[in-house]
């Protein structure tokens, strides 16, 4: 295995495009190293993108959104007051990935590129409407985060393409988001079900919403019907009941060692309700 530490994304993309064998990008490394160790992947070329200037930075964009570097570790997100005030759901999703130690390394981009339907940080990003900036051998493009994963362990990135930043839109006024996951322990588990909700309100009424479920389908799933169920409501019991139904209906989970189909479906509804309430309270500036 060859180890590369390019100085620019263009260089990284060229390296990857020209590499004859198996290539892996290394950001935080918390997934790649586990796969290396288990010999699940045996790359010929490992391209460490953390040495590229700017990758460890979180910055404001011109439109009052956020640009998050690909090497920004979870702990850095958690410590960033401005980002946390705008997108608490995105931050709390990332903070649920792994232990304190893993938080010192794991990145949003890595969590996304791992392609796991249970990735804790992805539902929050999708709910927020985040976009990935991709650098490829022929230039840059941007793609909605929900279009990156295509199935367990697979992404829509083509050979030589590398995510060079994640972009969060401006939060704007009266918005709130939240992410919740279900695990049997209190920490250190992979989500059995995850749910992120982002919404905006006018007064007590929800005017826009995105509801996203994790671990209930081959990819993280944006559920427009669930959003519809609460838009135009004040999140009353009827809206919550409709949300629950829509969330459950969107599930096509599997039975596996982490949970059953029935359990995942049921809990998806529970988490949708609970996450929506938190996001709603945040949007209204209230206590959580």
């Amino acid at each position: 295995m060859r180890y590369h530490a390019p100085q620019t994304f263009e260089e990284a993309a060229q390296l990857a495009a020209q590499a004859p064998g198996v290539t892996r990008f290394l950001a935080g490394g918390t997934d790649v190293l586990v796969q290396l160790r288990a010999a699940m992947v045996r790359p010929d070329d490992l391209i460490d993108i953390k040495k590229i200037p700017g990758t460890a930075e979180i910055s404001r964009t011109a439109d009052e959104g956020w640009r998050i570097g690909v090497a920004v570790a979870g702990a850095q997100l958690g410590a960033h007051a401005g980002l946390k005030a705008d997108w608490p759901g995105v931050v709390e999703g990332m903070e649920l990935v792994g232990s304190t130690q893993v938080q010192g390394r794991a990145t949003l981009t890595g969590n996304l590129c791992n392609g796991s339907p249970a990735a804790d940080s992805v539902p929050g990003l999708v709910a927020a409407g985040a976009v990935a900036e991709i650098t490829g051998p022929t230039g840059k493009r941007t793609v909605a985060v929900e279009d990156i994963p295509t199935g367990p362990g697979r992404t829509s990135l083509t050979k030589g393409e590398v995510i060079s930043a994640l972009l969060l839109p401006p939060r704007g006024a009266h918005g709130g988001d939240a992410y919740l996951r279900f695990i049997p322990r209190t920490e250190m588990d992979i989500a059995v079900v995850g749910c992120a909700v982002s919404l905006t309100v006018e007064g007590a009424t929800i005017t826009a919403a995105r509801v996203v479920l994790g671990a209930v389908a081959p990819t993280v799933r944006l559920v427009p019907d669930a959003a519809k169920a609460i838009i135009g409501t004040a999140l009353d019991d009827a809206a919550l009941a409709a949300l629950t139904k829509a969330a459950e209906a969107a599930c096509s989970p599997i039975d596996d060692k982490r949970g059953t189909i029935a359990f995942r479906t049921e809990v998806a509804g529970v988490l949708a309700r609970r996450a929506a309430r938190i996001a709603y309270d945040r949007a209204r500036g209230g206590k959580q």
Partner: protein
């Protein structure tokens, strides 16, 4: 596979080693630098026995490549006592019987030290969540929490 020359600072000393790029920082510390205080309990980031600080950040050294340590600063359990003087956490772990087999202990001490630098007065719950990635199979964690609290109190008193 060709090895890569790595120069890094470990517990204040400059060290050099040749790393296969597939080797983790944990492998390099244990097999090339001769520091076996950091332990491997899982190799997958799930147990925390390999906890070290990398440029001050608490990480699992099994999830860092040895070559990534080039030019960085690494702190391990072997550097925790200064000048023959135990860190209060080390003393309190012994006093409170916060270790049985002791295999998890180096990682827990390194992690707990990082916590107390960030939060000098943590609640029990904060300690438990901070240490959730440090598995201990022997103690049930009770005495570990007490030892961390007692060390924190002593350090606050001394500060």
């Amino acid at each position: 596979m060709s090895r890569i020359h790595v120069t890094t600072t470990v517990n204040g000393d400059t060290v050099e080693f040749l790393a296969d790029p597939r080797e983790t920082l944990l492998d390099c510390l244990r097999d090339h630098v001769g520091l076996t205080g950091s332990k491997e309990g899982c190799g997958t980031g799930d147990c925390g026995a390999c906890s070290v600080r990398l440029d001050g950040t608490l990480v699992c050294s099994c999830l860092v490549l040895g070559v990534e340590a080039q030019g960085r600063t690494v702190e391990t359990i072997e550097g925790m006592a200064t000048g023959g003087e135990l860190h209060p956490l080390q003393r309190k772990f012994i006093e409170h019987a916060a270790l049985q087999c002791g295999f998890c202990t180096p990682g827990i001490l390194v992690a707990a030290k990082a916590l107390l630098e960030k939060n000098a007065n943590p609640t029990d719950t904060e300690i438990r969540y901070w240490l959730a990635g440090n598995l201990c199979r022997c103690t049930g964690y009770d005495k570990i929490i007490r030892a961390v609290q007692d060390a924190a109190a002593e350090m606050r008193g001394a500060a």
